[in-house]
Structures are given as structure tokens and as C-alpha cells.
């Protein structure tokens, strides 16, 4: 058990290191130069070759790849993620500034998608061959196929423009102006949760279908337990593992940012930061942001594995 955990942590470290090396070399090997992009819109002559070269040398980009990587790792050990090649700001500050909106959005979307997934999953499995079950099925099929950009725009149109209930863009720091901050969060979180909620509903439906055929469920019915109690006491508990796995994967994905939703709602999240950094070839920022996103993803999935042990005691003895 303990050795398994230690082994797992070591594996995660190796995975993170290989991810960072892969990203480090790939962004440098593909065509495109951060300083050329920076000066691409400038007046002619503003970014002449000699000047660009001096910027390169100052950033250490003229050194061999492995030397650069060794230097990067050395700085990383001191907790230094470097400075953005574009703005000159420390990468850690840039990430920190986008962290709160990202986590808020991810958390809210996770809760919403779990709620929706469990609700519709139950509706799907209990409502077979009934009109409301078919309706829920159609809704889930639609939600699975809905592009999140389109979902966001539809929600903005309905709740923002037609009904005028909710603000349609921007982020307000929590705690500053009640109830503006949560009001700004509702539409982006709802948009982000639709697709995973629908996928989760399908997952729960297929798992419940197998669980409800188990002998212990029949026994429960036979001794007179009602449907609700069978579900809450017996069946749903046994669908917990896939739900936890799914929730961890989703939250891990969201924690790295949700680019489309951030774009639709002008949400200052990590996803947009990373994509812009990649498009601008802001090497240090790409490395920092991917390292952060990768670490968050691995850590959340590690927590999910620990939760399996809490949820299913049988696994502790393996």
C-alpha cells in the first residue's frame, strides 16, 4: 500500500519531467520565433536582425537545447519559472493572476456537471420506455453533440439578452461585490458543465444498468426495500468509482483552463493564457503553464486514486 503510493508518486514525477522536456524541445523546434512575432506588427526597421539576435542572446536562446534545458531545470529547483518573453512579467505571477478565475470556473462547473449527470443518469435508467425517459435521452443526446461555443452563445442569447437576468461576460473577484461575482460565474459554469454532464449521465446510466441486475439488488427488492432506498443505499454507491474517475478527469482538464468558454465569456482563465502563449511562442510562459496544468491534472487524478481506496475497501488489500 505505502510502496504503491510511493511508486505512483515517483511515476508522476517522471511523467511530469518527460512532459516538461517534450514541451521544452517541441516549442523550440517548431518554426516560429517569439521576438519575430513580437515585432511582426511594428514599424519597418523596429525589429532588425541584429536587434532580434541580441534579444535572443539575452534570453539565452542561442545556447544548445540541452544546455538551455539544464539551466531551466536548475532554475525550476529554486522555484523560478522564468519571465515571460513577451511582457517580461514573472511567469509565476501571470499564472497566479489567472488561477482564481480558473479554479472558480472549474469548481462550479464540476459541481453543476455532477448534479446534472446524476439527475439525468437516474432519469435515463429509471425512465426507460416512458415519455420522460425518452425526453431525457433526447436532451442528453443533444447536449453531448452541442459545441460548447454554441452552448455559451445560446445561453447568452436566452439569459443575457432576451431575459436580461444574468451578465454575459467578464469576471468579478469573489467577495468584492455581492452578488455580482457569483452572478458572473453562472453562465460560464453552466456552459462548461453541459457536455461533461451529459457524458456523465450516459456513464451513470450504463453503470446502473449493470448494477441493477446484480443479485444483491434483487435481494434488496425481495426483502421489501423500495426503489428509492435501493438506489440510494445499494445501487448508487456502486456507481461511485466511475463517477469519481470521470469527475477527476474533468476537473483536471478544467484546471488547465477551458479555452472556448473563456473566449466566449471573456473569462481571464489559464486556458486562454496558454493558447495565446503558444501562438506567440512565449517559451517560458508555455513551459510554466503546461507544467502547472500537467501537475494539477496528475495531482487531481492521484487524489481520485486515493478516493477509490476510501470508497472501496476491497482495493486496500490488493
Amino acid at each position: 500500500m505505502q510502496t504503491a503510493v510511493i511508486k505512483r508518486l515517483a511515476e508522476m514525477g517522471v511523467a511530469l519531467l518527460s512532459l516538461s522536456f517534450a514541451i521544452f524541445s517541441v516549442v523550440r523546434l517548431v518554426p516560429g520565433d517569439p521576438f519575430q512575432i513580437l515585432f511582426s506588427g511594428a514599424a519597418p526597421g523596429a525589429g532588425d536582425a541584429g536587434f532580434l539576435q541580441s534579444l535572443h542572446n539575452a534570453a539565452g536562446l542561442d545556447r544548445p537545447l540541452l544546455v538551455q534545458y539544464a539551466g531551466y531545470l536548475g532554475q525550476l529547483l529554486h522555484g523560478n519559472l522564468g519571465v515571460s518573453l513577451r511582457s517580461g512579467e514573472p511567469v509565476i505571477l501571470l499564472i497566479g493572476r489567472h488561477l482564481a478565475p480558473t479554479l472558480e470556473l472549474a469548481g462550479a462547473a464540476l459541481i453543476l456537471s455532477l448534479g446534472m449527470g446524476i439527475f439525468f443518469g437516474l432519469a435515463l435508467s429509471l425512465g426507460r420506455k416512458r415519455w420522460w425517459g425518452e425526453l431525457a435521452g433526447a436532451a442528453v443526446s443533444f447536449a453531448v453533440a452541442l459545441p460548447s461555443a454554441g452552448a455559451g452563445i445560446l445561453l447568452i442569447y436566452i439569459f443575457g439578452l432576451q431575459l436580461g437576468w444574468l451578465p454575459t461576460f467578464g469576471w468579478v473577484a469573489q467577495g468584492w461585490s455581492w452578488p455580482e461575482a457569483p452572478r458572473h460565474l453562472i453562465l460560464p459554469a453552466l456552459t462548461l458543465s453541459i457536455h461533461p454532464g451529459a457524458v456523465l449521465a450516459r456513464l451513470i446510466e450504463s453503470n446502473l444498468a449493470t448494477v441493477l441486475e446484480e443479485d444483491y439488488v434483487r435481494t434488496a427488492y425481495a426483502k421489501g426495500v423500495g426503489l428509492v432506498r435501493v438506489l440510494t443505499r445499494h445501487a448508487l454507491k456502486n456507481t461511485a468509482l466511475p463517477v469519481v474517475t470521470f469527475a477527476a478527469l474533468e476537473f483536471g482538464t478544467f484546471a488547465g483552463g477551458a479555452v472556448v468558454v473563456e473566449t466566449v465569456f471573456s473569462w481571464p482563465g489559464l486556458g486562454r493564457l496558454l493558447v495565446d502563449a503558444v501562438a506567440n511562442r512565449d517559451y517560458a510562459l508555455i513551459q510554466g503553464a503546461t507544467l502547472f496544468a500537467g501537475a494539477a491534472f496528475l495531482a487531481i487524478n492521484f487524489c481520485a486514486d486515493l478516493m477509490y481506496l476510501a470508497l472501496d475497501p476491497r482495493l486496500r488489500y490488493e
Partner: protein
Amino acid sequence: MMTTKSMAAELMAAKSMANSISARAMAAETVPGKPIDPGIFDRGERMGELHLFLRCRRRHWLRWIPAILILAVGLIGPAIVPQNPYTMALNHALLPVGSPGHPLGTDDYGRDLLSRLIFGARTSVWLGVMVVACAGAFGTLIGAATGYFGGLVDSVIMRLADALLAFPLAVAALFVAALLGPGTGNLILTLTLLGWVGYARLARSLVLRIKSERFVEAARAVGAGSGRILFRHILPNIAGPLASYAALHIGSVILICAELGFLGFGVQPPTPDWGLMLNEGRAYLRVAPQLAIFPTLAVTLTVMSFQGLARAWNGRNHSERC
């Protein structure tokens, strides 16, 4: 610990597809006492499989219709569009739904929305088919070959596949797309680079189940080479689940293309593309909501119809459906 995670990462559909193979193989066992005709292993098994595949699925032709309609619209689109989707007419900009000559109105450049939607089907279907063809061919070959031969290459490639699958597809696609830059060719390259893994894993697992079956052994016994066994005996027998996965994959490719197009990393203007139209229409949501709503519906209905197709092809292992 890792298995539970990769299980969820793979689509549920892929799982149930893989299950159907062994049951079918068992049903195809020869009747005891009946003399074994070596010919049935070569032609019979293969034809039987394809025949079953088609006959079983013929009863779900209703589910085929939407996908076939979309494919047809994509193919014959230029012949049926009411207007040229590229012709701008600024004096006819932002016409409402139901205007004479423009049944769904016009966009901010006065281009006919219906014609652009029909051409958008062409773009989407073309992207979807291209990606699925490239990723499917490459992934199936790699997966089938590594599964059949095994060894060091197999474990190295599967490690690579695991590593590619470990990180979420949407994030990876965006990262690669941002790295390669916008454009149709780069979009296809991105989604192929990330998409072959699914086929490789599915093909590999199917081959692993099937390669110890008797008809493979029989083919080997009569002296067939590895290439012949792979292409004439194994591939036809695993084609069903792979086709079903491909239908599902076309849907998800079209969905991701719409998202990437919306972000500006996919097809470039002025080509009509649903994701791009979504982004352009977003600015006019108050005055002309149809510009964003119709492309959204187009993407959703298209993806739904391919998912329906996948379900129809996958319905084989549910007894009530076949």
C-alpha cells in the same frame, strides 16, 4: 490504479464494441461431427462476417438516414445552394429570416446564410472524412500489426499511445493547433496526430482477442503468410467495431473542428465553416441571433446523426436490436 483511469478515458461505446467479438466467434464454432471444410475458414468466415454486418445493420436504416443526408448535402452542396455563398452585397447585410431570396437571411457582409450553412456542411464533412480516413488507416494498421506481432515495438508504441491518451484531447488538440498555426491542412494533421491512437488501441485489443481463434490457426496451417492472415482473415473480422468507432469519431472530429474554427485555429475566412460562422455571428447576437443559432444547430444535428449511425452499427450485441 492506472487501469481504472484509462477505462474511463476510453469511450464506453468502444468497450461494448470489443465485447461483441468473442461472443460472435463462439457462435461461429463448427458443429461437432460435421467435417471441417478448410474453405470456410478462408472465404466463409470473412464473407459471413461482412454479410452479417450488412444484414444486421440493414434493419436500422432509419438511423442511417440523417448521416446519409448530411453526407449527401456535403457532396452535392454546390449544386443545390440558392446563392453563391461568397458573394457579398453590403446593401443586403443582416437581412432577417424569411427575406425574399434569402430564406434564412444574410450575414454582416450580405452573404446568404442558407448557402453558407450548406457549404459549411461540405467543409465539416470533408474535414471529418479526411481525418477519420487518415487516422483510421494509420491507427488500424499500427494497432493490428503490433497486436499481431507483439514484441518490443508493440510495447513501445502502446506506451506512446498511453502517453498521448493521458492528456485530455481537447487541450492537446488546441495546443498542437496553436503550435502548427491555423489552416485546414494543419487542422487535419493535428486531429490525425491525436486521433490514430484510438484506432490503434481498439484494433490491437480486437486482434489480441481474435488471433488465437481457430480460423487464424487454420489459415496459418494451410500456409498463409502474415500479410495474408492480417489483411484477408483478421481485418475483415474486426472491421465492424472499427467502423462503428469511426462513425463516432467523425462526429467528435466535426465537434472539435467547430470549436477550433470558432477560436480561429481551423478553417480560415472566407471559407464557410460552421465554427467560423459561429464566431462571426456572435457579434450580431442582439440584432441577428440566427447568424449564431443556425450554425450551432447545424453542428449539433450533424454530430448527433453520426452518433446515431455509430449506435446503429454498434447495436449488434444488444439482442433486442438485432
